[in-house]
Amino acid sequence: MARREDVFISLSAGLTGYSPVRLIGTGMCDQYLAELGKVLSDGMVDEFLSAYARPPADGGCSVLKVLRDARWGPVARRVMILWYCGTWTALPESWHAVHGASSADTDHVVSAEAYQAGLQWVAAGAHPAGARQQGFGAWALAPEGV
C-alpha cells in the first residue's frame, strides 16, 4: 500500500493544480497531514485518503469522485484552501451534525510557515507580505511572469 503522504500529495495535486514536486517543495506536507488529523482524527484522515485511492467503479476521475462525495467533498474543498492560504476553514454545522463534532475544527492559520508557503503567492507571482525577505527595492519590480 502506498504511504499516506504519497496519497495525500497525489490527491492534493489534483485539488490544487500544482505538481507533486511543487507541493513537496513547500515543505508543508507533514504539517498539513498532522493538522487534518487534529481536526478530523487520524482514522478519519485514513478513510478520506482511501476514498480517493479506491478507483471509482465507473472508471471516472478520483478527484471528482471525492469532490462530489457528501462526506468528503467539503473536506477536500478545505484542503484546497489549506494549500493556497495556509489556513483551515471550519466545516459547516450541517457536516458536523452528520459526521461528528470536533473542537479543533475552527477557522485558523496553521502556522507562520504555512502562511508563507501558501500557493496563493506562487499563483500571483508575489511574496507573502512582511513575512519573507525578497531584497531591497523588490517592491518596485513587476511580479514574476508579468
Partner: protein, 358 residues
Amino acid sequence: MSTASTRITTVERLREYLYLAMQLEHATIPPYLTALYSLKPGTNSDAYHVIRVVAVEEMLHLTLDANMLNAIGGSPDLTAPSFVPDYPAFLPDGETDFQVSRQRFSREAMQNILEIERPKQTPSEQHRLVRRSAPKAQQLAVVPGEPSMQYYSIGEFYAEIGRGFRYLHKEMGDALFRGDPARQVGKEYFYSGGGELTTVTDLDSAEVAIRLISEQGEGYGGRIYDEHRELAHYYRFEQLLLGRYYLDGDQPGQPTGPALSVDWDAVYPIKQDARLADYPAGSELRDAAVAFNRAYADFLGLLTKAFTGQPELLIEAVTGMFRLRDLMIQLIRNPIPGLDGVNAAPTFEMAAAAVVSS
C-alpha cells in the same frame, strides 16, 4: 620553476588574476548555499545566520574583485564557459589541496568550509607556489595559464594581486587605472551586514579592497577580529563546530561567549555534488533542476551587466537571488525517485543550461 616568472608584470596578467579571483570567490557560493538551504525550516537558526551572512559577504568580495578588474580596464564576464566550476573543485591548503563539494550541512561540510577560509601564510618565499603533481580539471587559485602551479593559499593568491598592483603602479603611474569609473559598483547598490563596498579608482582603494577580502575571510595577522570588530569567516564557522560564540579578546580555538546549539540531524539528506543525470529523464524533478540552472545562468548574466556599466542592476540581481532560493529549496525538499531517502539538490551545471536554452 623560478617564482620570478609567475610575478605579475603586465596589466593583462593582472586582469587574468582578477578574473580568476572572481571565479574563486564565486566558487564558494554554490557550496555555501547548498549547505544553507539543506537546513530544515524552523531549526538551526544559529547555523542559518552564520552561513547566510558569509555567503552575502562572498558576494561582496566578488563585487570588489569586479571593481578592481574594471578599474584597470578589464571586463568581467560571469557567463563565460567554466566560470562556474564543475564540483568537486580543488582549492589550495598549503602543501596539499582539498576538495570542495556541494553538500548538505554536516560536521564534514563545516570542516570543508573551514579549509576554504583557513588562514595560511607561506613559510617562505620559495613555498609561495606549490606544484600539483596531477592537476585536476577544477583546480582554483592557480597561476593563469599554469594549471599545475597553485598558490599555497587563497591569501597568497591575493598577496600576489596586491604586489602586482604596486609593481604596475610604480611602472605606469595612474595610467594603470584606465578603466571607466562609471563601471564601479558603489555601496549604494549593495547592502551587506559586514564590510563596506568600496569603489576602486587608484592604488589606495585597490589596497583597501584587497585588505577587506583578506581580513573578512581569514582574519589578519593572526587576529580573529578585524579593526571593525568583525569576526573573520574562519572563526564564525568554527563556532558551529565548537558550539560556542566567540567574544572579542578570545584566543583562536577557545571561544568564551554564549553557547549555540546545532541540530546536525535537522537537515535534508541531499545528494552530494548532484547532477542533472541523477534525475530520471523526463521527470518533473529533472525539469525543476533545469529551471534552476537556467535561472542561475540568468542571474550570472544580470551580474555581468551590473559589472559592465549598469550597476543599478545589482539591486535586481540580489532580488533574483531570493527567487533562486525558492527554486533551490524546492529541489532540496524533494526525494529523488528510485533512490531511497536521498533528496535532490541544485546542480549548478551552466553548460547544460546554455545548451537547453539555445
